[in-house]
């Protein structure tokens, strides 16, 4: 495979998806669907489950009103969230409010060092940056957030013309569509292209071409 995430595995992974008020629905439901649709064995698709266990994580276990008012129930809160292999931070109108909430920033700082991978979609990269996780790194963000990002985080090299940027174990995607491509990229990185390709096929979603899967690295 052309991805550079080390040896492939068949091990189960636990992915946390951060949800919060006014998180953009497709920023997290797109990747969620990709991960949920992943199967290690295509022949037993219907009877088997994804190797990726997903947890919606929120500050508390109360219902969360995401964009447009869609109400979700989180699976875990900050206090009880188990160890994660990966965390995905979606964007949305609500993200800027989180940048002033120490609960979110402290939780991110506490969890990040123990995870194999961190990912964001759209303006979600603002929260990673605010938590100090993108210092000296390269990232992308939603096109509406470019000026704000550059002004506030001059120590991050922002490449908004790229739909996906991989820098070490942090992957940022610019938007909804890019977030789904990124999720397929992450599945390919962990389990290989053929498994990621089957997930895309099941969704009748176009598998990103090699070009999209070879994002320029930050450094």
């Amino acid at each position: 495979v052309s991805t550079n995430g080390g040896p492939l595995t068949r091990a189960g992974k636990t992915v946390g998806i951060l949800i919060y008020p006014d998180a953009e629905v497709l920023d997290f439901c797109g990747p969620y669907e990709v991960f949920a649709t992943t199967r290690l064995d295509e022949d037993t698709r219907r009877e088997s489950e994804s190797p990726i266990r997903q947890l919606l994580v929120a500050e508390s276990k109360e219902q969360v009103r995401t964009s447009g008012g869609l109400r979700m129930l989180p699976d875990a809160d900050f206090a009880t969230c188990p160890e994660l292999d990966m965390l995905l931070v979606p964007g949305g109108h609500g993200v800027r409010a989180l940048m002033h909430q120490p609960e979110y920033l402290d939780w991110l700082k506490r969890m990040a060092p123990h995870m194999d991978r961190l990912a964001s979609v759209g303006a979600g990269s603002l929260l990673l940056a605010e938590a100090g996780l993108l210092i000296g790194k390269t990232a992308t963000t939603h096109f509406h957030s470019v000026d704000f990002f550059r002004e506030r985080f001059p120590s991050t090299s922002l490449l908004p013309e790229l739909s996906m940027v991989v820098d070490g174990n942090i992957t940022t995607a610019s938007s909804i569509r890019a977030g789904m491509d990124m999720a397929l990229y992450l599945v390919a990185q962990i389990y290989g292209h053929s498994i990621a390709r089957e997930a895309a096929r099941q969704m009748e979603y176009p598998y990103p071409d090699e070009q999209n899967f070879r994002p320029r690295n930050g450094k």
Copy 2:
């Protein structure tokens, strides 16, 4: 505009989205995002709301576990659902169970005559067919359901090679991706292409080309 849904409007619309156990998340979150992202005036995008009010409708108001275990809270149940301008029925592994549940079929039969539009994504068309709403009509469905659909509903002309089929006021889409294209088509039909195009742009989602927006009609 090239769509044929009658004169354009600026009126608000109420769209119901049916959710049920194991409904496919992106089958309904894709269109949901399109409708939620729609604005009549681009200049006031952030401060204003979509002209499309969306209600997740379920059999009861209890939480619903959709595909992969994502838990949603419905906005309305069958007993209290207000009048709808449009209903969207998503597909998913859970849809076949509904075909044997009179509560769902009766509700669909009761609501359908009072709506301007009916839409389904993926295997959702099976439920419309089971409720007798596709007799003598043309439709599409998820590629996994083609044989089953044809055997059970011989009086419906199935065109699974089309990603979207419009037959009168019923629009069916084959899959997740097609469901998002269909939602953009419906927005264009109601409010015009320029408004639908702005919703797509906001999502960085490719606006379907004219070809996709000119699905062959059933008759």
